[in-house]
Symmetry: C2
Subunit: 356 residues, 2 copies
Amino acid sequence: MVDYVGIADIQHLIEEIGAGEFMERLAGQIESDYKRWGEFEKSPRLASHSDVGVIELMPISDGGLYSFKYVNGHPKNTGEGLLTVTAFGVLAAVDTGYPLLLSELTITTALRTSAMSALAAKWMARPDSKVMALIGNGAQSEFQAIAFQRILGITELRLFDVDPKATAKIVQNLRAMPEMRNVTLVRATSCEEAVRGADIVTTVTADKRNAVILTPDMIQPGMHLNAVGGDCPGKTELHVDILHRPDVRIVVEYEPQSRIEGEIQQLAAAHPVIEFAEVVRGAAQGRAAAGEVTLFDSVGFALEDYSALRFLHDLIAERPEFCRQIDLVPEIDDPKDLYGGTLGSGKRRAKLRRAA
Amino acid sequence: MVDYVGIADIQHLIEEIGAGEFMERLAGQIESDYKRWGEFEKSPRLASHSDVGVIELMPISDGGLYSFKYVNGHPKNTGEGLLTVTAFGVLAAVDTGYPLLLSELTITTALRTSAMSALAAKWMARPDSKVMALIGNGAQSEFQAIAFQRILGITELRLFDVDPKATAKIVQNLRAMPEMRNVTLVRATSCEEAVRGADIVTTVTADKRNAVILTPDMIQPGMHLNAVGGDCPGKTELHVDILHRPDVRIVVEYEPQSRIEGEIQQLAAAHPVIEFAEVVRGAAQGRAAAGEVTLFDSVGFALEDYSALRFLHDLIAERPEFCRQIDLVPEIDDPKDLYGGTLGSGKRRAKLRRAA
């Protein structure tokens, strides 16, 4: 039997643990996995593009555990009442090739993306950062707010979206959270207003085009930019001149993938960037001076899904009530007798039927 | 909710329909999908190798439906009481990116591999073929026997395995099947003896090395060779001189993958081979003369898993009792409110909980 974490299980789990604690602990897992970056077999995601979207497989292995995520991206889905992004993933044992855990990753991807954002900011933002502008108030936005409150100690959130209903939605959702009671929520009337004076600027917009959410005039020395929404070819959020500032420090997850998908797709291939693993391993600084502009050019890397699946797998080992089991793989006595053990008659078959 | 076909479901389904009918209908699906070969976006499988095995992802899309299979290959597993190969797969809608069906594919892969073997033989073997040698009596062997009895009308099976217990097992399993009552089962004492006078020779051995199961002296004019076991780099079953016979006709599934994994990995890259799609589309012959030696160099291609998942999906649409449903993807009213719709409080959340 294979462990299964479905939507009801992750809801139950977050209800018990809280999204903030979940993301804080997951950030710890991601950080420790990035510290052993060299142990991972990495590859850019395998994408199947159509006119209306993309379906991707994101595999990774550290030689002990293998994971992959299935994820789609269909911006037009929201117009049909469907999610832009859905995802699920599997953790497997490299030694046997058997799957260990199948999990929903739609909700978990939102949690891991924000855990990763806050983790990067912990290494890159000024330690006294208190004010965050949150540009784009869609599906990912509440998760970013919770993670930055919990992990960075943000006390003021400046919210802006071109759609005022989206901002109304995040305000309503955040107001219902006990952990947000001491966080000032400001509804800005423009992106400029939201960004002005912010320590951290998080962009999580959904438009699939080369948008210019942030322009050079909005950027102030010492800011940390958490650019989450620019995450596929032709989809960026920052004006290219921000990337060319002499005082900007650009950190990415996995350079070969970010060159294709990140804000840095706007730069020449030789333009120097830092991989996040170098930062957590002490080979590079996340921030060298209080006046630097730091940019985490996030696109989402398979390692973070590996970390999330591993974290979930460890969690359900302690708390089996947060998962179910499914019969995705046969269990038979004689592995050379697949037919007899599964479809034939006899004792082995009977045993299997009882277990199912 | 996503349709789910687990081990118990596929057992139930095969019990009702029968493995022979399942494979015959699946062969029809595979054939019709190969006929529209040009519509598929194809790529060689994405493999992650370790010292003890391999884990692979096999995606494919025809622009309407996308599928992928997860499959491992760990020959040492049998020594630990585990299966060498386990698999599962997903069928998804290209238009929305949403998964439609998650299915076990360990048993289904055995069924589709044999359905494909028999389908290829239907186009390639002499129409009067009655005697099949079955070399290698492991996990895949019963499925081959059933498919060739059902689809080709084989009346005599010559069984050989280096392990006499494997042969005893297949004999026991086949003797219990009503459809095998009129099939003569012969336990051969050597591979040579099994092959001598056979119309069709099926090799399904498991050794992960360049083995020489069939040597040139065993091959007689008019034979059809169904080489199933040579299916990854360094794993072949045929002496290379068989491939160099002037009267041999070699058919493969997807040439770029077969060059790496099939018997033809032993040949120069320019050595001409025929793709099976050319045969079913009438662009090439499966057999040009009764005296030709035909070789189906099977490695298993993603299209066949697509066909299997699609066939299952159509089948459970008619017969919903053969599947269950799992909450792999959230269902929410407002797709821009992932947090509120899944983790927050309120009506939408309550609705989702009731559905789970």
